[in-house]
């Protein structure tokens, strides 16, 4: 049985202090023609993952605007999620040989969900590949269907994408996190950025005492320069490259490096990468490798706020929302020019982009030598996030999309 989620209401006016009353008034004005009209969001998980995190906040905010919105989660067995996990990796470009049985499993679970989900809202928003085949339930001319893809489709596995494209092409539109991630499709494609919530535990203002306590807990000296990368222990996040960049910086500046990510104990690959990172760190007392609990938003918040420079030296990246999290906290960021990062880092305006270990080190040294520029980049980065990557902006984009779809009909 599929599941409709009931979420706590979030007063929209709580955002007025951060954004100004004009922004809230604007959301209400845009939502006015949509009052009472129905929206159904469908994804494949209620907890964990960025999509669920965003929907958890977005749906209650849309309710605040009197939209008749609900969030349904499709169901599937272990076999379904094994297949969709493989599809996910294959769409990101990982090698994969799909079997006819995989496609059968995918279609069978979509068919089962078509029988249990209402799928009758005026605006149907389907998230990611797992429920993409629900479009088969669409009755012509009855409602609008859009597909929100959170995956980088720039180099997909041909067989998996050819299979999915048949479904995607029948939607009224598709939304991608970056133009680079989109495909040539016969339907309109829109740019939809992921978003952070400024009032969530990960981004809210913190008491200085709490931040100090977190630093003390992890043995980090608040009086010395702190370079930080927050990300899981994954080769694509290049934690070893971060250590190499730190060593170059260290020749010129006294500094500490914090590499903080979720625990690698339940992730076999993560455990291997963690070992590589520990080997590279070579017991350097100024390198703090922190295995945080799976859900430690306040600690992440504190570490970001305490940092002198935040690094995101990914080799590949989806959108990389940790960049927006750091920018929201007015931190100068040095990050790789991959995936969605250049959308967040406008080079020399909202942060600095790099393409190598040496480049990353150079940009960090530049910021440490020019703290006034670091402050300015942090300020402008904060404004960039405020304008583009907050949950309220995402809500505005959805309202605009629904109005566009309604106008088109």
């Amino acid at each position: 049985m599929s599941e409709t989620l009931a979420l706590n209401r979030i007063p929209l006016d709580d955002y007025a202090d951060l954004l100004g009353t004009g922004e809230i008034e604007e959301l209400r004005a845009l939502a006015k023609p949509l009052r009472g009209r129905s929206i159904e969001m469908i994804n494949s998980t209620a907890i964990g993952g960025g999509v669920a995190e965003i929907l958890n906040r977005l749906v209650p905010l849309a309710e605040e605007l009197d939209l008749n919105i609900k969030w349904d989660v499709m169901t599937g067995g272990e076999d379904f999620f094994e297949v969709t996990k493989s599809f996910h990796n294959a769409l990101h470009g990982a090698p994969y040989r799909a079997s006819p049985r995989d496609f059968e499993i995918f279609l069978a679970y979509n068919e089962r969900n078509r029988a249990t989900l209402p799928l009758d809202a005026e605006f149907m928003v389907i998230h990611d590949p797992q429920p993409a085949a629900l479009i088969d339930a669409r009755k012509p001319g009855v409602n609008h269907w859009v597909w929100r893809c959170h995956i980088d489709l720039s180099h997909p596995n041909r067989a998996v994408w050819d299979f999915l494209e048949k479904f995607v092409s029948r939607y009224d539109g598709a939304m991608f996190s970056s133009p680079e991630f989109s495909r040539q499709l016969p339907i309109p494609q829109y740019l939809f950025y992921p978003a952070i919530d400024p009032l969530s535990e990960k981004n809210q203002e913190l008491q200085p005492d709490f931040t100090a306590e977190v630093l003390e807990r992890y043995g980090i000296d608040p009086q010395r320069t702190i370079l930080t990368q927050i990300s899981r222990f994954d080769r694509l996040k290049d934690p070893v490259g971060v250590i190499r960049a730190y060593r170059i910086v260290k020749r010129y500046f006294d500094c500490q490096l914090v590499l903080a990510g979720g625990s690698a104990s339940d992730d076999p690959e993560g455990a291997v990468v963690l070992k590589e990172v520990l080997r590279e760190a070579d017991n350097d007392p100024d390198i703090k490798i922190l295995e945080l609990p799976a859900w430690a938003p306040l600690e992440v918040n504190a570490l970001q706020r305490a940092s002198t420079v935040v690094i995101q030296k990914s080799l590949r990246e989806g959108f990389g929302l940790t960049v927006s999290e750091a920018l929201w906290k007015k931190k100068p960021v040095v990050a790789s020019a991959v995936g969605g990062i250049p959308i967040q880092i406008i080079h020399k305006h909202t942060g600095l982009l790099s393409h190598s270990v040496e480049g990353t080190a150079y940009q960090i040294r530049f910021l440490l030598s020019h703290p006034e520029i670091a402050v300015k980049l942090g300020e402008q980065g904060h404004q960039h996030v405020k304008e583009n990557f907050l949950i309220t902006q995402k809500l505005k984009r959805y309202l605009t999309l629904f109005l566009t779809l309604a106008r088109g009909s």
């Binding site: 829109y190 740019l191 250049p342 402008q380 304008e387 605009t400 999309l401 106008r407």
Partner: protein, 219 residues
């Protein structure tokens, strides 16, 4: 105090970015894109980007110039593209023509650079515009001031920047109404001279409010 016969209606705008099918990896491809992309795409990468990046007051003018600077690494062409002031344009066709001319001249002068691969591709996108009435209007200078003070960035941008294209005049909604509605031509002119490139939307608004206050004190 003057009362306008036709009230000023405050409106807001929201843009959806539609991803186009064109992209460019070299200056030559970029020129082809400029020549063939839709008007909505030229608008998106110039007018609209100025609104969404209003907080940058140094060295950022439009998406085209930024790509040429950062990804194609051509400072000289970037500087020329950045120097185009959208206030000088009342039609997208004229703006496109100048963008193409500058790029074409550059490619002709440096053919070996025209085919050099950029670090990242440029993706031509378009703006889909939705407007909504805020349900507020002004008939006097005081009401007008109060309305402007509470506008969102998007609404301020809509009335102050993108209005030029709508009006097909070298002015903005605010100046247009101040002159036509309240007969305050000098104030309208001063408002129209606020530099949108060296000010953020917030500082432009603050200047506008100061100009209105000064006018109010005269009355």
């Amino acid at each position: 105090m003057n009362t306008a016969e036709t009230p000023f209606e405050f409106v807001t705008v929201s843009y959806l970015t539609r991803i186009g099918n064109q992209s460019a990896g070299t200056l030559a491809e970029f020129l082809t894109g400029l020549e063939n992309c839709s008007d909505a795409s030229i608008f998106h990468h110039t007018f609209q980007t100025l609104g969404s990046h209003h907080f940058l007051t140094e060295g950022f003018s439009n998406d085209f110039a930024q790509w040429v600077l950062v990804d194609a690494n051509r400072y000289d062409l970037a500087e020329q593209l950045a120097a185009l002031d959208i206030r000088d344009y009342v039609s997208i066709a004229a703006l496109r023509s100048d963008l193409c001319r500058l790029t074409s001249d550059y490619c002709a002068a440096f053919p070996h650079l025209a085919s050099q691969a950029a670090l990242e591709r440029f993706y031509f996108c378009e703006s889909v515009e939705i407007t909504a009435a805020l349900g507020r209007s002004a008939q006097t200078l005081d009401e007008f001031r109060d309305g402007i003070a509470h506008l969102s960035h998007a609404s301020f941008y809509f009335h102050f920047i993108s209005s030029r294209l709508r009006l097909q005049l070298r002015t903005n909604d605010f100046s247009h109404w101040l002159a036509d509605g309240l007969g305050l031509g000098t104030l309208a002119d001063s408002v129209n001279h606020i530099d949108i490139y060296t000010n953020t939307l917030d500082s432009s608004r603050a200047k506008l409010l100061r100009l209105i206050d000064r006018e109010g004190r005269k009355a």
